[in-house]
């Protein structure tokens, strides 16, 4: 920078000026800030729950809405409420199955007896299973043809109740469990064109306008209840926008923590190598050289296969992949810093080597490290998404944390004809964020080190 006005300014100010002139980097920075805010705040502000499924909604195109029958007023009836809800008719008993979840059981028969009952989620073996109303049975190959069952009990090593399934068949039972506290019974009374639901206490709660069996409008407390899905819904009827934001949380969280882990390892390693010098330095850096050519991502895959897909493991594993360059950068910085007067002064003042590294060398070498870290974040997002794309989704407390990679994957799997939004939006969210982060990182690097501009 040869502008006369720059003379006498601090290097930091000059770097900031250079960064400000880089429009791409500034736009990227703004995009990153916006995206982070959305991802952090969005799921809280959104009325939709990223986990709750509404199978009957299916994949709705972006911008479409439907009467909000998901809250306290699910006008769906009976055992098949989750898969095939039917609107209420006057005189029906309505059960609000808010928070209802389908629990699948796999039942195998051997020579006419129930040989095993396994709760599919968590693969929990069960000895007996009470089948009240609400149990649906899927056909032999686990497909979607479901029929409700009469009441009865399945007991292991006992023949199943007569007429339940053909001997030797493998069946999937769906139990629609509703949280006790959440379950409210309503009676439906006719009121002209509209149908009102009246709770057991006799209070009119909601009002729905029906045409045939189709629910046209739902009114509660004088307000029409409608749910709108800006980006549409996925195959399970979950709001796509909130799922993308939630996936962004997972991706960004993993990226941030893994980057911090990589900084921790890399800075320590590089600082020790640079400060100690001599044989220690050569040894540590030779190790870095060798580790550079180990294909770590494959090791991470093996790690996840062997130890399961835990969040902590992924933090550490992805962080451990990324620290090598940080170590090199820090070593270079420390090498050039350690002969400076202030370091000598600190040593003469009797500070231990560790204190010198921590208080003087590491803080002073942080500029380039931060620049490299901003480029590490998109790299980690990419790797994590790659892992969840190939099916190694992170599990947390028994639930899959669907990050952007998993969303892109399910979008790709659901891709037939006009359902392209399922692929497009997650791809755009991820591609845009990666591009913005890269632009910021490149811009920062160019601004702090104008010599390598344009690489």
């Amino acid at each position: 920078m040869s502008d006369t006005s720059d003379r006498g300014r601090s290097p930091g100010w000059q770097a900031w000026q250079r960064l400000r002139r880089n429009r791409l980097a500034m736009a990227g920075g703004i995009a990153v800030v916006v995206m982070t805010t959305l991802v952090v705040a969005g799921p809280w502000l959104s009325p939709h729950d990223p986990q709750r499924q509404h199978l009957w909604l299916g994949a709705l195109p972006p911008g479409s809405g439907h009467p909000d029958v998901e809250d306290e007023n699910l006008f769906a009836i009976g055992a098949r409420a989750e898969t095939a809800p039917r609107a209420a008719r006057a005189g029906d008993l309505l059960i609000s199955v808010r928070e209802s979840v389908a629990v699948a059981y796999r039942v195998a028969l051997r020579s006419g007896r129930v040989s095993e009952i396994v709760r599919v989620a968590g693969a929990l073996p069960v000895d007996r299973l009470e089948a009240g109303p609400g149990l649906a049975v899927a056909d032999a190959d686990g497909g979607s043809a479901q029929r409700p069952l009469p009441a009865g009990t399945l007991v292991r090593d006992q023949p199943p109740p007569a007429g339940w399934f053909a001997p030797g068949s493998r069946v999937l039972l769906l139990r629609l469990a509703a949280g006790i506290a959440e379950r409210i019974d309503y009676h439906v009374v006719s009121d002209g064109a509209a149908v009102r639901a009246i709770s057991r206490a006799g209070v009119a709660v909601e009002r729905a306008v029906l045409r045939g069996e189709h629910i046209e409008r739902v009114v509660g407390d004088g307000v029409e209840l409608r749910a709108t899905h800006v980006l549409g819904t996925d195959l399970q009827g979950r709001d796509l926008a909130v799922r993308i934001l939630h996936g962004g949380r997972v991706s960004l969280l993993i990226a941030l923590v893994a980057t911090l882990v990589s900084l921790l390892i890399g800075v320590t390693w590089g600082a020790i190598a640079g400060y100690a010098g001599g044989r220690t330095d050569r040894l540590l850096m030779a190790a870095v050289d060798i580790l550079y050519s180990v294909p770590f991502l494959f090791l991470v895959i093996v790690l996840m296969v062997v130890f399961g897909r835990s969040l902590i493991l992924l933090f550490v594993a992805l962080g451990a992949v990324q620290w090598l360059t940080t170590a090199r950068i820090v070593r270079g910085q420390v090498l050039s810093l350690k002969s400076r007067e202030f370091v000598l002064a600190a040593r003469l003042a009797g500070q231990s080597p560790w204190a010198v590294i921590r208080r003087h060398l590491v803080p002073n070498s942080f500029g380039p490290v931060v620049v490299y870290a901003t480029l590490t974040v998109p790299a980690v997002i990419l790797q994590e998404s790659f892992l969840s794309f190939i099916g190694l989704t992170v599990q947390f407390r028994g639930q899959a944390l669907d990050s952007w990679g998993a969303l892109v994957k399910s979008g790709m799997d659901a891709l037939t004809g006009d359902r392209v939004w399922l692929l497009l939006w997650p791809s755009l969210a991820m591609g845009g964020t990666l591009f913005a982060l890269n632009a910021v990182g490149d811009g920062l690097r160019d601004a702090l080190d104008p010599q390598i501009k344009g690489r």
Binding site: I290, G411, L423, G431
Partner: protein, 310 residues
């Protein structure tokens, strides 16, 4: 050159040994064995099974035996496909991966070099900027975003007969092959273009180019005969590590386009906990990678005299 070569030659097997040891230890400490069936197996059968997979030996002897097998090129039996060895699986699926990977590498190098050189020649023009911006976009977009989008665009949307249905069948269906290769090649082409452009720009401002220009040499001769040799140096050192990206990229591309390559087998093996298959594939990938790194280091040593002296 001798010392440089020697160091690389020592380093390469060391890397492989680290990789093998890591995977071996990981798989051995894995909870649950491959035969933890629900039913109790007859003790005699269990013993025979354990002997087949050498689980009856102490760990260090298993390790040595595994190293011995590897040295003979034997990756062992598969845990899940009971009747097949890992070697058979590799032999059946690797050719597909190699075909797609090789074509992608060739495409990426051609397109990348051309675009990079073009951007450098037209430095600071609209062509340069648009090429650079395009390279940045494709660098940021991973294969698993580009692949499905390409597949949707040409398959479901434009309904191209060449890629409809999207079934991979080698050269029998060149459309699908082309899409897969393009998906795999794009990020490399972008990286190659960026490296070529930066390398050439570095060179063209040096004195010997100015001298050549002053002597009245034509532009293309300066570019191809003088500048390119120095300009491709960063590219050569990138090609080794790029092999790793090519391999991981092929994991994705094989999923997207249903290519029966080794990458898909690897992913399936990982999801099915087929430990020996995963181990064998990782070791194989590691060997490929180390080989590529070695080759690119050697090429760099041949092209750049400065490297030999360090």
């Amino acid at each position: 050159m001798g010392r440089y070569l020697l160091r690389r030659l020592i380093q390469a097997p060391l890397v492989l040994l680290i990789l093998i040891t890591c995977t071996f230890v990981l798989v051995r400490v894995a909870p649950g064995g491959p035969f933890d069936a629900e039913r109790k197996v007859d003790p005699a059968i269990e013993l025979a099974l354990k002997a087949k997979y050498r689980l009856d030996l102490p760990p260090w002897r298993q390790y040595l035996a595994y190293l011995g097998d590897l040295a003979r090129g034997d990756l062992g039996p598969s845990f899940k496909h009971k009747a097949r060895t890992v070697n058979e699986i590799v032999a059946a699926h690797l050719p597909h991966s190699l075909l797609v990977g090789g074509l992608a590498l060739a495409l990426a190098l051609t397109v990348g070099l051309l675009c990079g050189a073009l951007a450098a020649v037209r430095h600071n023009t609209i062509g340069d900027w648009s090429l650079s911006a395009g390279a940045m976009v494709f660098l940021a977009l991973p294969a698993f975003v580009v692949g499905p989008l390409l597949a949707w665009c040409f398959g479901a949307w434009l309904q191209w007969p060449a890629v409809n249905p999207m079934i991979y069948d080698g050269f029998q269906r060149p459309g699908v092959l082309l899409l897969a290769v393009t998906t795999l090649a794009l990020p490399f082409a972008a990286k190659v273009a960026r490296l070529t452009r930066a390398g050439l720009l570095d060179i063209v401002h040096q004195d010997f180019i100015r001298t050549a220009r002053a002597c009245g040499l034509p532009g293309h001769q300066i570019l191809f005969a003088h500048a390119l040799r120095g300009g491709v140096l960063p590219l050569v050192s990138f090609l080794g590590p790029a092999a790793a990206d090519l391999l991981t990229g092929s994991l994705v591309v094989e999923q997207v386009f249903n290519i029966p390559g080794l990458g898909r087998e690897f992913v399936d093996g990982a999801l099915n906990r087929d430990y020996t298959l995963v181990m064998g594939t990782v070791v194989l990938y590691g060997a490929l990678l180390v080989g590529f790194n070695l080759l690119s280091d050697l090429a760099l040593g041949l092209l750049d005299p400065r490297v030999r002296l360090t």
